[in-house]
């Protein structure tokens, strides 16, 4: 009966998304409570799925009782379960973060829950067209959230994302269409069986190309990433924390699904150029993203380009398609979500308390906000890949996979990506801890209207950024509570703790890998 958890994972947040709107009459807090309860339920459901998959099951649920391949299948296996767990955990964490940090409009929580449902849907669907639908739900909710900051720059960023994201989704659906024309089915497992033997047919190749480019755009792989730095930078800090952790993550997960489940390794053997094309995109993305991150001055932009680089690594891992590399890709996907979410959360807190938005603003903040800066340092070092951390684990498996597959360029790029990551993380650390005292901004007067725990009982419209006195920065979270700091610290603790969880990941993904590499 555990397979019932699968439809519930999607249905609960989508239905609950209506609640904040209706409950507006109850007060401005009602939306938050709806979101909190829903995400808590999601965590429970995700735990059920994770436990079942860890026990060796492959959960399958035919939606509405229609059997595959005609009906839609929901699948929980070693590839989707870690992503589901990540989505649930991060959703709950960000909701906790938003209690004090805002935004507080009930409409925000509606979009937020829709996004949760969309992300879950992409992760557990076993049907390509269904995946497109959930990708669109994800995309639309994300456009709305990016624009929720209501500043002009966030509006432009959201529009850019909308235009490009729609192109990506269209490419994906064109690819799905080609696949459907070639095989007459949309179920992933069924597709993989029917595609066998016709890998080099032109519609099949075109289908792969369209899908990969479409999903690559959603995952923000260079040079399809142009929407991403603007969206991350100009969205409000809470939103950035959430979408940076999850949205591109499910797109990268979709790439893994398409490569490993739909097209399978046999496709790569029949059409090696396809593999090389993906690998080339991915490795270029790693290097270009890293270099661009190093030269950024604004923190959020730097972290955004860092994601371009890290997703290049993940896509490269899936394109390598060896057991080690795929395991590394899954681990790094989960790890990147936690690390990047934690980094953006820490950056949000520093922006709120010190108005720090650029690398130079970070001068000596390590001594003024030791806990948050320390968390940022731990997460940054984990992102570099310093053990013990999940960042190390992921990169290690990917590197081992590249070496064992004999694809030396990728192995070398993994090494260089570590160096580049070190370069931009070291810039932050140097500012935080070793900056010349003269470079530090003068300690601001504590503003009387910024209490720590709660923003007051007034029916506040939104975003009255307390720290940025010049009124230009509407992205800043409303206030900082110790709970927000706690969530951020918790992210760092989990990141380090998962560094010891290599056997857990191996058990989790083992059955899935067994199916792919049989």
């Amino acid at each position: 009966m555990t397979d019932v958890a699968l439809p519930l994972l999607i249905a609960v947040p989508i239905l609950a998304a209506v609640a904040p709107l209706f409950s507006s009459v109850l007060g401005f807090r009602a939306g938050w409570y709806a979101a909190a309860v829903t995400t808590a339920i999601e965590v429970g459901l995700a735990a059920v799925v994770l436990a079942a998959v860890y026990g060796g099951d492959r959960l399958v649920h035919p939606v509405g009782g229609y059997p595959a391949p005609y009906g839609i299948e929901l699948v929980g296996d070693g590839l989707s379960a870690p992503i589901v767990a990540l989505i649930a955990a991060v959703s709950l964490g960000v909701v906790a973060f938003a209690y004090t940090g805002g935004p507080r409009r009930n409409s925000f929580y509606s979009a937020y829950l829709l996004l949760v449902g969309g992300l879950m849907g992409v992760s557990i669907t076993g049907d390509l067209f269904n995946m497109f639908v959930f990708l669109e739900i994800t995309g639309l909710a994300t456009y709305a959230l990016v624009a929720a900051d209501r500043s002009d720059r966030s509006a432009v960023a959201a529009l850019k994302y909308l235009i490009l994201g729609t192109m990506g989704a269209s490419f994906f659906i064109i690819g799905v269409g080609y696949a459907f024309i070639s095989t007459g089915t949309l179920n992933m497992v069924d597709l993989s069986a029917r595609l066998a033997g016709s890998y080099t047919a032109r519609p099949v190749l075109a289908s792969f190309g369209f899908m990969i480019v479409g999903l690559g755009l959603k995952a923000a792989v260079f040079p399809l990433h142009t929407w991403q730095p603007d969206a991350y930078t100009y969205a409000s800090d809470t939103v950035t924390t959430y979408i940076s952790a999850l949205v591109s993550t499910v797109a990268a997960y979709a790439i893994a699904r398409v490569i490993l489940t739909v097209f399978t390794l046999a496709f790569f053997e029949a059409a090696p150029l396809a593999r090389w094309a993906v690998l080339t995109f991915a490795t270029v993305s790693v290097l270009a993203g890293g270099v661009l991150a190093v030269v950024q001055t604004e923190i959020k932009r730097m972290l955004a380009y860092s994601s371009v680089s890290q997703f290049g690594l993940v896509v490269a891992a899936f394109a390598l398609a060896t057991p080690d590399a795929v395991l590394g890709g899954v681990v790094h996907l989960v790890g990147h979500g936690l690390m990047k979410g934690g980094l953006f959360a820490a950056a949000a807190i520093l922006a709120a308390t010190h108005g720090a938005r650029t690398v130079d603003d970070y001068a000596r903040l390590g001594y003024r906000s030791p806990v948050v800066a320390g968390t940022l340092a731990v997460l940054g070092l984990a992102l570099v890949g310093i053990p013990p951390s999940i960042g190390f684990l992921g990169k290690y498996y990917i590197a081992v996979g590249a070496v064992r597959a004999g694809v030396w360029p990728v192995a070398i790029v993994v090494f260089f990506s570590t160096l580049l990551t070190l370069a931009y993380v070291a810039r932050l650390l140097e500012r935080l801890y070793f900056a010349d005292p003269d470079a530090a901004a003068p300690v601001p007067e504590p503003s009387p209207d910024a209490p720590v725990a709660d923003g007051g009982e007034t029916e506040d419209t939104d975003h009255a950024g307390p720290a940025s006195g010049d009124g230009g920065d509407t992205r800043t979270v409303r206030a900082v509570s110790s709970g927000m700091v706690l969530v951020t610290v918790l992210a760092a603790v989990v990141v380090v703790a998962l560094g010891f969880a290599a056997p857990v990941f191996e058990t989790l993904v083992e059955a899935f890998l067994g199916g792919v590499f049989s």
Binding site: I163, G209, V213, P223, L224, L273, A277
Partner: protein, 600 residues
């Protein structure tokens, strides 16, 4: 039995710790007792393999007794006791003797090791403790000690490399796992590494450099342990000998004696003679027959006695006069009769005068070179002295050189005009060890059977070798006569040839300046890399901080590109942020590329 459970290095190292902290008298007393006990214990302990712990997951043998290690233990303990007594009377302080006892203890650890890992462990510690012993004296000894440490660091590393190679080849560190060192590379590494310790020509420069520089009592310790442990290890590595090693030994015999002839510093002269005498031992090990090996070990035993005796006698002269240069001395036989007698015993023994112990062991090696080596035969057998191998000739010439240089040393120090100074003779605490050791030199020379009892392969030596035969005695007398004639004939030319340098005149500056060049090259090229990296990084950061302005400046310098400042003055900029349109273009281009690659 207590002798079987306590390896000899334990009491001696314990004594070293005591000597480091206890008052001088107590420390020396404990040191004397410990070393004497080791000599007695080594004599009594039954042969066998004791203390076999697993260290670092390897089988090791910390304490293995056979005829070879037993003999080393006896003589190391015996001479250690004599040297501690001598050091006490020569006003050596407790710390120095502590270092010396540490050196003795680690040497004992090395010769009683039953596997290469233990041996190389103590081998390296020997280098450390002996360096400390040299350094303790300060002054010039600091520089020579540093060169000593460098040489032994390199040698020890080579030995270590050979040991690892040996392990890789045989799967065990134990001596019993293979007959010596096996494989193509390991023996070469081992020979060169041990060659540093025994003073192969070219690798010997540390020896005459270091031994004359520290305290006189320190020299007595130094002349005993390092080179003899090297000979012992050479035997363990090449139990069946090796022809090249034999010839190297012969060459060392001649080279050491010739260089010694040119020296005017007393202890430096004796140091070159260590090379020469160790040459005989190396030749014996290299020849590899049972008798030659026994002769080599006999020479180790005897050499330790008379060389320590010579260093002690010369040390007393330095102790009493403060002079190290033989040309400034003379006529001392009247004022220092005890010292003169000890020197006479030592010189007679080292030169191989019949009746002294050197004659016995050197005779065995020369006889084996005569009998067993027919490799590079010089001249037909029909002519007198023809049909002998090159090795035999080298050993004979080395013997003549030995006579000549000890006649020279004795002549200049004890005769050579009348004494211009009136120093006192040796102290009682110096005389006792000197005369006892001198007596042993005579006893073992007159009763070679007693010596053979201590040596390995006793039965075979007794059966195959008779010490006092007419040809042997004639050979000894002939060598002595040649030495006398040679010295007095060449006295003038020799005293004018003392400027002839050793290879260290080239090696030391080469190593020093070569090392400096290497260090400079490494640091400078690293600094260049560092500067380049910092330049690239900082310029990237500068460009990255304001890419739009740099793009403008770059475009302005391009020929044929016209850019305008947006507002007429100030810094020009080009908007580099990708617009939505550019983004769409990039996406379409990417898709086109992918499709082109896949479909065409």
């Amino acid at each position: 039995m207590v002798t079987e459970t306590i390896p000899p290095f334990v009491p001696v190292l314990f004594a070293a710790i005591v000597a480091a902290v206890a008052p001088r008298k107590v420390g020396h007393g404990i040191g004397f007792l410990a070393t004497a006990a080791v000599a007695v214990g080594s004599l009594l302990v039954p042969a066998g393999t004791y203390l076999t712990p697993r260290l670092f997951g390897f089988e090791t043998v910390l304490y293995q007794v056979d005829d070879f290690s037993r003999m080393m233990g006896i003589i190391f303990g015996l001479i250690g006791a004599a040297a501690v007594l001598y050091a006490y009377s020569s006003e050596a302080d407790g710390t120095q003797t502590a270092a010396a006892l540490g050196y003795v203890g680690t040497s004992l650890g090395a010769v009683f090791a039953g596997d290469w890992l233990t041996l190389v462990f103590f081998w390296e510690l020997m280098a450390v403790t002996s360096t400390l012993l040299v350094w303790h004296y300060g002054g010039r000894a600091v520089r020579t000690g540093f060169r000593y440490a460098l040489a032994h660091g390199i040698g020890g590393s080579l030995v270590l490399a050979a040991v690892i190679w040996q392990y890789a080849a045989t799967g065990s560190f134990l001596f019993s796992a293979a007959a010596g060192v096996v494989g193509p590379i390991a023996p070469a590494l081992m020979a060169i590494g041990i060659g540093v310790n025994v003073g192969f020509i070219g690798l010997h420069t540390w020896l005459p450099d270091t031994y004359p520089s520290p305290h006189i009592a320190a020299s007595v310790f130094l002349c005993v342990y390092t080179t003899k442990t090297g000979v012992y290890a050479m035997f363990r590595a090449f139990p069946d000998g090796h022809l090249w090693i034999a010839y190297m030994g012969g060459a060392m015999a001649v080279f050491g004696a010739s260089m010694a002839l040119l020296q005017e510093d007393m202890r430096r002269l004796l140091s070159y003679h260590i090379i020469s005498q160790v040459g005989y031992m190396v030749a014996g090990v290299g020849i590899g027959t049972t008798l030659a090996t026994a002769g080599a070990f006999g020479h180790v035993f005897n050499h330790i006695l008379y060389k320590a005796l010579l260093f002690m006698s010369v040390g007393v002269v330095i102790y009493r006069t403060g002079i190290e240069d033989i040309t400034e001395l003379g006529g001392l036989w009247r004022v220092m009769p005890l010292t003169f007698v000890s020197y006479l015993f030592g010189a007679a023994a080292i030169s191989g005068v019949p009746g002294f112990n050197g004659f016995v062991s050197k005779g065995i090696i020369i006889a084996e070179a005569h009998k067993s080596v027919k490799n590079v035969v010089i001249g037909p057998e029909s002519v007198p002295l023809g049909g002998e191998d090159l090795l035999w000739w080298l050993l004979i010439v080395g013997g003549v050189g030995t006579f000549m240089s000890f006649i020279k040393l004795g002549y200049y120090v004890f005769f050579h005009g009348s004494a211009s100074i009136d120093p006192e003779d040796a102290r009682i605490g110096q005389s006792v060890p000197m005369l006892s050791v001198g007596a042993l030199c005579l006893v073992f020379g007159l009763l070679p059977g007693v010596l053979f009892e201590v040596l390995p392969n006793t039965a075979e030596i007794a059966e195959k070798y008779t010490t006092y035969t007419v040809p042997h005695v004639i050979e000894g007398v002939a060598l002595g006569t040649a030495g006398f004639i040679g010295f007095f004939a060449l006295k003038g030319p020799l005293s004018r040839a003392t400027w002839i340098p050793d290879v260290d005149r080239v090696i030391n500056p080469t190593v020093f300046y070569g090392g400096r060049v290497l260090v400079r090259a490494v640091t400078e090229s690293w600094a260049a890399v560092d500067r380049a990296v910092v330049a690239v990084a900082s310029s990237s950061l500068r460009v990255g901080a304001n890419p739009q302005r740099y793009a403008f400046e770059g475009a302005r310098r391009l020929p044929g590109v016209a850019v305008e400042r947006a507002d007429g003055d100030g810094d020009g900029e080009i908007d580099l942020r990708t617009s939505t349109g550019t983004g769409v273009l990039l996406v379409v281009l990417s898709l086109a590329t992918v499709l082109a690659v896949l479909l065409l």
